[in-house]
């Protein structure tokens, strides 16, 4: 009896080898496929050392990346924290690619490897493959090749134009990285054709017509008419929220290789956009999946009681949510919120209360949570997901409350709390915190002074009187001016009234 039980165990103790990983993967795949109905890219699991993990951290989790000092800085920082024991390393890093690459650390115990495989190779993997945002905005097949190309291209630029020149461009591009994304759909990204396009660009550039360089004398110095302004805006595709895109296409003084580097930074930023919009869901999905899989493995007698306890220990520390007055509080923990919401949906689907039936009539008590979850994972992003699925019970459990902080007032005001009157407002407020359109300052290129000094004009649509942090804004504008080549003006205007609140003017460095 005992021997038969032990035969079912996937592994014993903390040690593992590649055979163990393989067995764990196959056991997880069985559960993920048959019971959870997940759908994933083929998995590639790579075993790495702690140093390599730090390395992967430094280059934002990408396996190969171009060289830049900021990655060295991040590496040094993580390394120092790690060495002092202040921070453990993540157990895994997973890359949205096809096949889906998960890095696992060699120091992990067998149980941790099981946790990591269930979490990354099935949870995240399913999310990457099925989430609408990822499907539409990223090219999982092309990313690894594109990164290889980017690395080689930046290196060849360094050889050709010198490291300092490339570093300057990258510094400037990184400063604007958050403004290098299209938030509205254009066409599916195709990273594989990027290399070919780079070659074509040079030829095309020589014939390119840039309205900024137009020096044809005009007939008469007539005052600028409405239609001229319209024409200019159309030619330059203004207003433009993707500042890097605008610079790449229209900055008059950039060399072709500089435009290409802007494009690389822009493409990488675009690749990460869905990750930033789905942090709660992505982690929630992965955490929920590993929790389900590991518990099921234990039920099937394939991992021991000790292993389950070890896994639960890691699990609970990952989903720990300190309260707002706790020393450790640093915002909502996406793992905690995500996992809580996923489990809550399961509860509503299987054991609904009257309140749940009222709030979620379309799936309360439907019996099987997986179709609901799979649908949510595929179609929502954090903001809409919270708006749709956060239940009153969870708000009570988390004891959420909404505080309004208006610097014009001497005190903070509690706007809503977890009670009948507050649920909907509270939920709306929390969802807004995950809306990138509201959390990131809304800055767009609005105009170029073509008849005068080619000054680039940007506008920050300030909401709620929130202005930019001045010092850093000026630094970013200096980077922007050095890319544009002429003066840059940033106007901060109030979104509601359109009143101008503040202006920053910066000239390019000479």
């Amino acid at each position: 009896m005992n021997a038969a039980l032990e035969d079912r165990l996937l592994y014993q103790g903390a040690d593992w080898d590649f055979g163990t990983l393989m067995r764990i993967h196959d056991a997880c795949a069985e559960i993920a496929g048959d019971e959870l109905g997940l759908d994933w890219y083929p998995n590639r699991i790579e075993v790495i050392s702690a140093e390599q993990m730090l390395d992967a951290y430094a280059s934002t989790g990408l396996p190969l990346f171009y060289r830049h000092w900021s990655f060295g800085k991040h590496f040094a920082q993580h390394e120092a924290l790690y060495r002092r024991g202040l921070r453990g390393l993540a157990y895994e890093i997973v890359i949205n690619s096809d096949p889906c690459v998960s890095y696992v650390m060699e120091e992990n115990t067998a149980t941790l490897q099981a946790l990591v495989i269930a979490h990354a190779a099935f949870g995240h993997n399913h999310f990457f493959k099925n989430s609408r945002l990822f499907r539409e905005w990223t090219d999982a097949k092309g990313i690894l090749d594109y990164l290889e190309f980017a690395k080689g291209y930046v290196q060849s630029c360094e050889e050709q134009h010198g490291e300092p020149a490339v570093e300057r461009i990258l510094d400037s591009a990184h400063a604007l990285m958050n403004y290098g994304v299209h938030r509205h759909r254009r066409r599916a990204p195709d990273l594989q054709s990027e290399q070919k396009r780079e070659r074509e660009r040079r030829e095309h550039d020589e014939q390119m017509y840039n309205v900024l360089w137009s020096t044809m004398p005009e007939k008469a110095a007539a005052p600028p008419t409405r239609s001229e302004e319209e024409r200019r805006r159309v030619l330059l595709q203004l207003p433009q929220e993707n500042i890097l895109y605008f610079l790449e296409k229209s900055a008059p003084r950039l060399a072709p290789w500089q435009r290409e580097i802007l494009r690389i930074v822009r493409n990488v930023a675009q690749y990460f956009l869905p990750q930033r919009q789905t942090k709660v869901m992505n982690e929630g999905c992965a955490t929920y999946v590993h929790h389900r899989i590991l518990n099921r493995l234990h039920e099937q007698g394939r991992i021991s009681d000790g292993a389950l306890l070890e896994a639960l220990h890691s699990h609970t520390s990952v989903i720990m949510q300190p309260e707002f007055d706790d020393q450790r509080y640093s915002g909502m923990n996406p793992y905690a919120l995500g996992f809580a919401m996923m489990s809550d949906i399961e509860r509503i689907a299987t054991r609904p209360t009257e309140e749940d039936r009222e709030w979620f009539p379309d799936f309360a008590g439907c019996g099987d949570a997986m179709p609901v979850l799979r649908h949510a994972w595929a179609e929502f992003r954090d903001e809409s997901f919270i708006l749709q699925f956060l239940s009153p019970k969870l708000m009570r459990d988390l004891k959420l409350f909404h505080v309004l902080d208006d610097t014009a007032q001497p005190v903070l005001r509690v706007e809503a709390m977890h009670d009948e009157r507050g649920y909907r407002r509270l939920r709306r407020a929390l969802a807004r915190q995950y809306d990138p359109a509201l959390t990131d300052p809304d800055i767009q290129v609005v105009d170029v002074d073509l008849s005068g000094d080619r000054r680039l004009i940007l506008e920050h649509q300030a909401t709620g009187g929130r202005l930019l942090e001045e010092q850093e804004a000026r630094q970013v504008l200096r980077h922007l001016a050095s890319l544009w080549g002429y003066d840059v003006l940033l106007r901060e205007v109030d979104q509601g009234s359109g009143a101008s609140l503040r202006e920053h003017a910066v000239s390019p460095p000479r």
Binding site: F401, D405, R413, L468
Partner: protein, 434 residues
Amino acid sequence: MQILDRRLNPSGRSLPNRQRFLRRAKSLVQEAVRDASAKRDIRNADEGGEVSIPLHGIREPSFHHGSGGIRDHVLPGNKEYREGDEIPRPPSGGGGGGSEGSPDGSGEDNFRFVLTREEFLSLFLDDLELPDMAKRRLVDGTDPAWHRAGYSVSGSPANLALGRTMRNSMSRRIALKRPKPEAVQALEEEIAALEGDPAQAERVLELRAELERMLQRTRLIPWIDPIDVRYRRFEPVPRPVAQAVMFCLMDVSGSMTEDMKDLAKRFYTLLFIFLQRRYKHVEIVFIRHTHEASEVDEETFFHSRETGGTLVSTALEEMQKVVADRYPPAEWNIYAAQASDGDNAAGDSQKTARLLVDTILPACQYYAYIEVGREGEHGIPGFPRGPTDLWRTYEALVTAGAPLAMKKVRHRREIFPVFRELFAKRGVLEGANA
């Protein structure tokens, strides 16, 4: 499903990025290194270690909201608040949850990271040089230099001497009369030309036999035979090693306070690191003195107290004795650094000067005198303090042309500049010290 083992991939993939980062933050890191080195023991002062540099120097800027305006916070863990409650604003300026979500509003101002020993030293000793590092001698047991020494018949493929091998091969082929390919080809052409001509049938047969013999000979005598092969040979040659001994002389009489000793210690630390960088073996001798001198260990040197008068000459005598016993000047590079508050018993100065000029200085590569004083000691109005006894004595020697470097130090922040002045490359700080 695929499992790949990446652990064996070459490490140090992040090295280029790290070098770029260090280059970028060089001036900041250099400063941090100088600060960090002040806090350590002499013997392990040159290990790598954590340094901390101000964050603003290496910030990557981005657009983000400043403080102020209207903002919403949704926070977990409500205990007592009801809708409509008013909460006093937390003092740190941030809102309910802090502007970045940290309730105490304090971000990290400093950037801490770890430097390796090599990085630490190269930043620390950038553009300094040791004066007069001359003496080298042969010591056993150090790693030898490899010199080319002829050829050998065995070796590794990387050391194959191709030219020599081919030369051997050619001479062997000539000596054994290996048929040349051209000869074989000529014969074949001749046969081809004559073939089919019945008149020449006999000649063809003859030629065929000749060709057969040639081809056989070609097969028997290889183009390159193992006996031709030669390898470049290398021979270990013991490398002369420069070794140094550093004498730390210090006055420990009652007039030297802990602060002054600390200053002296910092200076010795720097010197030790510097010597270690340049020499394979560096030994340290600590000699402390009051009215009598003795050689002690580091702990005693810096921390135990002695009372008594001050006779500088005793320290020099002790040093002279140690040099004679253990460090023959012909084999050792001798460096000495003396720290004192400048007091010396009246009447001892003459003897000190004589000892220095006659015996110590000729044996030394370098002799530095550091006079430590209390902070703010100079400039007390009404109490002008002239140069001390020892300073006057040494100054006279320097004026007379003795190879002696002297500096005053009053605060720990002066240590590094003083050290740099003493050891700056000639030409960088020409004439900074008399």
